[in-house]
């Protein structure tokens, strides 16, 4: 089915996960894939660099075409396999508009999340400030409230309305990551409801990060 595709990925990485969900949704199973270890630095290996010169996963090849940007890969798969598997771009212009809006908002959410979770990794020791850590957390809380509000107003159970779409494919892994790092379920009830309603969707269940099944999560975000 998808024998001409190759995916190098790391467990738990939202960008990797969204490509895997998209592949499942489009019934593109059986692709060549290899799970790499971030701890061992395998995402900087020659194998990855040959496909993705940024030294990041996913590194994704579709025949002779390379699309390492995870959102780009999802859009490309939907475009090339329109009539296969689940349709991921809604026909309804209103839903489609919300979908495009949400998809491109994920960078903002992801970046604000990373500024909190990966502060020490992003900022060298001599440049760290408690004031920045505090501000980054406040910024993330404001962002999460924005998404909680989106879901309060959304009707239909999915981010763009009544149809599962690329917005869900692309954003669900970021939400899951937040919970994995201890986001309080009670404080964001709509986000939590959305998260729980999707976690058993076949494409998501089939691609759940293997390392998350084996090890407990962290509580870094519990106070947010």
């Amino acid at each position: 089915m998808a024998k001409d595709m190759t995916l190098l990925w790391g467990s738990g990485s939202p960008p990797c996960w969204r490509v895997m969900i998209a592949l499942e949704e489009k019934n593109l199973q059986g692709y060549n894939q290899k799970q790499l270890s971030f701890e061992k630095g395998e995402h900087k290996s020659k194998e990855v660099m040959d496909i993705n010169p940024r030294g990041q996963v996913p590194a994704f090849k579709c025949g002779d075409k390379i699309i390492n940007e995870s959102c780009g890969a999802c859009f490309f798969l939907e475009s090339q396999y329109k009539s296969q598997g689940n349709k991921l771009i809604p026909d309804c212009p209103k839903e489609q508009a919300v979908m495009f809006q949400r998809v491109f908002e994920v960078n903002t959410l992801g970046d604000k999340m990373a500024n909190v979770i990966y502060y020490n990794w992003r900022v060298p020791e001599g440049e760290r400030h408690d004031s920045a850590i505090k501000r980054n957390k406040e910024v993330l809380v404001a962002e999460l409230k924005m998404w909680e509000g989106y879901l309060q107003k959304a009707s239909g159970g999915f981010l763009a309305g009544k149809n599962f779409s690329l917005a869900d494919v692309i954003i669900f892994p970021t939400f899951a990551y937040l919970y994995r790092f201890g986001l309080c379920e009670e404080r964001y009830p709509k986000l939590t409801e959305y998260y729980k309603s999707l976690m058993n969707r076949p494409s998501i269940k089939a691609t759940w990060p293997p390392t998350w099944k084996e090890t407990p999560g962290q509580d870094l975000l519990k106070d947010l």
Copy 2:
């Protein structure tokens, strides 16, 4: 033609500019529009907040649909007006793959650019470090070399190949911004060639930032 559309924008903002280019390319002239002043803080006005709760421009309405994310708006316009004006998503799978890859790489480029140009605006006074300024510049230079390399390998004159596409709509304004802030033309010959070859394209010329015509650029990036 586009009487049911409203665009609130600021001169020189790459996100605003790309929506304006997309509207031109799709022959969607005559939309309601209002140029706002960043200096006067008009992007935080109620008028903007009513459409875009993030208090950012563009604030874009298409009938009763709101899409403030500039790349999302470009994709939406292409999707809704497929057969009108210029086709912005290539049919050729290879070109399409490159287009999707480049479109989603623009965030990385834009963010690295903003970390240099807007360092003092992004980082409060007590948290600034010369080491961070130096590193941000190095990171931007490496990113620019990456794009110079893309254009070296690209054949056909456009970012995704021989057809002008959403990749050009979305990324051209960011390149133009770099030159406006003093990027050295000689040091990035392919980037410069690309920039110059597109600056007279009708959609780009018609939407050139009005404030750029009136005032000189800056030389902040001249050493990069």
